[in-house]
């Protein structure tokens, strides 16, 4: 029932569009966007937010600065040991707060569980990819990120490559490890990488800092439906993630 009346509706709408544009039903699609610059103009259009300063700062430095500007925390690790130390430090710090984490969820990223189990802090539970229903009872979600964007301090999560769509969202704390080699300078560059095969992954999420709202009297509140704390560990050592 929906199908046939929808075919009618589809045709009616397209017909209305064409009629109001004053074009006939059949003409060649101008999908090549003649005269409209693409990536060149886009590249020209960005940058210079950090201006000259960007030249002297590395991508990691820029990423850290931008992440911290949106209430994220950034650690830089040069070895696996340092990653584990960072995780230990984060969880220890959190234990002293009202968040007091007891249950840690870990994504199925290769090698991640091993690292987490090396953390020298007592928690009640470490589970890899708990069910969505159970996730609501976890305090920390640890994942990797497939990439990051320096100019905005953004993490790029491709959930077709790692089961982190919900682990990065439901628990109040999200810890993400990203390889420095996968940090791109700009949003434009990142989009181009995401699109390089012509097909985009089913779900790609950009994460910039913890969740927030200003819906009540424009007062900023951190931590709404998504996590209230975001920690990113930038791994400058051996890459963890297969890019």
């Amino acid at each position: 029932m929906i199908n046939s009346s929808n075919q009618t509706a589809r045709e009616a709408i397209l017909k209305s569009i064409r009629a109001h544009l004053g074009v006939g039903d059949s003409f060649e699609p101008r999908i090549n966007l003649r005269g409209l610059p693409v990536v060149n103009a886009v590249v020209h259009a960005q940058t210079s937010e950090n201006g000259a300063a960007a030249q002297s700062l590395s991508k990691v430095d820029v990423f850290k600065k931008q992440l911290e500007a949106v209430n994220g925390h950034c650690f830089i690790a040069h070895t696996e040991l340092q990653i584990v130390h960072a995780l230990t430090q984060i969880i220890t710090e959190l234990k002293g707060t009202e968040l007091n984490p007891k249950r840690v969820a870990v994504s199925d990223a290769s090698g991640l569980e091993r690292l987490v189990r090396l953390v020298a802090v007592e928690v009640e539970e470490v589970t890899v990819t708990p069910s969505p229903a159970d996730l609501f009872g976890f305090d920390i979600g640890i994942t990797t990120a497939q990439a990051a964007i320096a100019e905005t301090g953004t993490l790029v999560l491709d959930s077709s490559r790692e089961r982190h769509r919900l682990i990065s969202l439901v628990p109040p704390v999200h810890i993400a490890i990203v390889d420095a080699a996968n940090i791109y300078s700009t949003l434009a560059e990142t989009l181009s990488v995401l699109h390089r095969t012509g097909n985009v992954s089913p779900i790609v999420t950009f994460v910039t800092g913890p969740s927030r709202t200003a819906d009540i009297e424009l007062t900023l509140t951190i931590g709404v439906h998504g996590p209230q704390e975001l920690y990113v560990i930038v791994n400058e050592g051996q890459p963890l993630v297969v890019s």
């Binding site: 397209l14 699109h195 089913p202 910039t208």
Partner: protein, 477 residues
């Protein structure tokens, strides 16, 4: 209940002006928003280029909308998305109610979508016995209050935290507090189970990317991510004008939208959804449906001047910049879309007759045009609509039409103009006291004069006109 209409705009506005709480809230919010937008725009050294680029992309898309729409649909369909075309609001609601029935859904979670406000979807779902839960904090607040949004991006901006606290106490039984963090936490806790239990998640769409069939939705709270990943069915409602051509075009719009809307470099989350998940066991909905809504948009394509209305990316910057909106807020417009953009699209969506007052509720200052990220020339559109209204209007404006006819007749005859001025110079002594025209009873004779003098004095006509002075003393020097 505050379901005011555009037809009663005059009364709505007067009432809004007497609401001191509202005016205080509006003043704070719009000036903060304005400041943040200004700073965010200034942080880029090519803001104007970005606006030009964005407008060019929109113009290109809109002038070939059928082709880009078809491309978008075909790419997304190839990735497993189901499309439904809705010619009008009723059709959209019918489709969505049909889907809730098909999936035997009893509860639906929703993220903020102005398009669903436009179709009054919540009412339709509730009539069909489906429980709808708004999850965006601002929308949740107004849902509890049985109100409509008063701003495109900050729906509850008209409420003080005291009012919100009272609302939470009475509707949710929470302890009285006006600590914003606590209020937010209450909303979060209350809504957590709703996400988990919902059968369907309904969202809007910020951009539909034709090249890849991708839906892009932006947010700060995380409720859109939850709405579109937990329930087994995701329904996205999208106006047909939301298409953009290429994946790469996202960069320009993501530079403009968050800055223009909230002064942020980027909102916390962007979800790029392309089709359904690759494997059954993956997280995310089993089904993704997109409802494409026309509801009068295709009509706007007819002329370039109205076509630009469809370039709007719903940032809300024009609302914050508008001196009228700043004083009366969104509800007074009596329409789903308030403020400058509302004043121009509402008459086009619901008809000139019903919304005839809206294009006149503007001083034509142009602040909206200045802040619009896609350079919509709203003042030009307002003037265009005013011309359409006077041309179409039959009896209502007969007095005004006559007045302007007489005025034009006089103004095209210099001697008559001089004579009328002389006449006014004599007549004004009826009204002038102490060298000015104040609000004495005599001014009530002439209603525009009464309207002026209700709050302002008026300088009288000078004893002799400039042209008299020119003749007497100024010409020979």
């Amino acid at each position: 209940m505050n379901h005011l209409t555009a037809e009663t705009f005059d009364e709505n506005a007067k009432a809004a002006l007497t609401d001191t709480h509202l005016r205080g809230a509006l003043r704070n919010a719009t000036s903060l928003f304005g400041e943040r937008r200004r700073e965010a725009a200034a942080s880029l050294n090519n803001w104007e280029d970005l606006r030009t680029q964005a407008r060019a992309i929109k113009d290109e898309t809109l002038s070939h909308l059928d082709k880009y729409l078809e491309q978008f649909v075909s790419k997304a369909e190839a990735r497993g998305v189901h499309f439904h075309w809705a010619e009008n609001a009723a059709a959209a609601n019918e489709i969505i109610c049909g889907l809730t029935a098909k999936y035997a859904a009893s509860t639906v979670v929703k993220s903020k979508s102005m398009t669903t406000e436009e179709t009054h979807l919540n009412d339709a779902l509730e009539s069909a016995g489906v429980q709808v839960v708004e999850t965006d904090l601002g929308e949740y607040i107004i849902q509890l209050a049985h109100e409509t949004p008063s701003h495109i991006i900050a729906p509850a901006i008209h409420k003080t935290k005291g009012q919100i606290a009272e609302l939470f106490t009475s509707e949710l039984g929470s302890a009285p507090t006006d600590d914003v963090a606590e209020l937010t936490r209450t909303a979060r806790e209350t809504l957590r189970d709703r996400f988990a239990a919902a059968d369907i998640g309904i969202s809007g769409v910020n951009f539909g990317i034709a090249e890849t069939g991708t839906i892009l939705i932006v947010e700060n709270e995380g409720n859109i991510r939850l709405t579109t990943s937990l329930p087994r069915v995701h329904i996205a409602v999208m106006g047909i004008e939301k298409v953009i051509p290429r994946f790469a075009d996202v960069d320009v719009f993501l530079k403009l939208l968050p800055r223009s809307g909230t002064g942020q470099r980027l909102t916390a989350y962007q979800s790029f959804i392309t089709g359904i998940k690759s494997n059954r066991e993956d997280e995310g909905p089993d089904e993704v449906h997109v409802v494409l809504l026309d509801n009068g948009r295709s009509r706007m394509l007819a002329q370039p001047i109205t076509r630009q209305s469809l370039a709007c990316i719903r940032c809300g910057a024009c609302l914050n910049a508008c001196p009228v909106y700043q004083q009366i807020g969104g509800h007074a417009y009596g329409s789903v879309y308030p403020g400058p953009i509302g004043a121009v699209i509402t008459p086009q969506l619901i008809g000139l007759e019903k919304a005839a007052k809206l294009p006149y509720a503007s001083s034509l200052c142009g602040a909206c045009r200045e802040v619009c990220p896609v350079k919509i020339d709203i003042p030009a559109l307002l003037l265009h609509l005013r011309a359409e209204i006077t041309e179409g209007a039959s009896k209502q404006r007969i007095g005004e039409r006559l007045a302007f006819s007489v005025w034009a007749w006089i103004m095209t005859r210099p001697r008559l103009y001089v004579l009328s001025a002389r006449l006014s110079r004599w007549l004004q002594w009826l009204f002038v006291r102490d060298g000015k025209i104040s609000d004495k009873p005599t001014t009530k004779i002439f209603s525009p004069l009464a309207a002026w003098t209700s709050g302002r004095d008026l300088r009288p006509l000078d004893d002799s006109s400039f042209r008299d002075r020119w003749k007497k003393e100024l010409s020979h020097r």
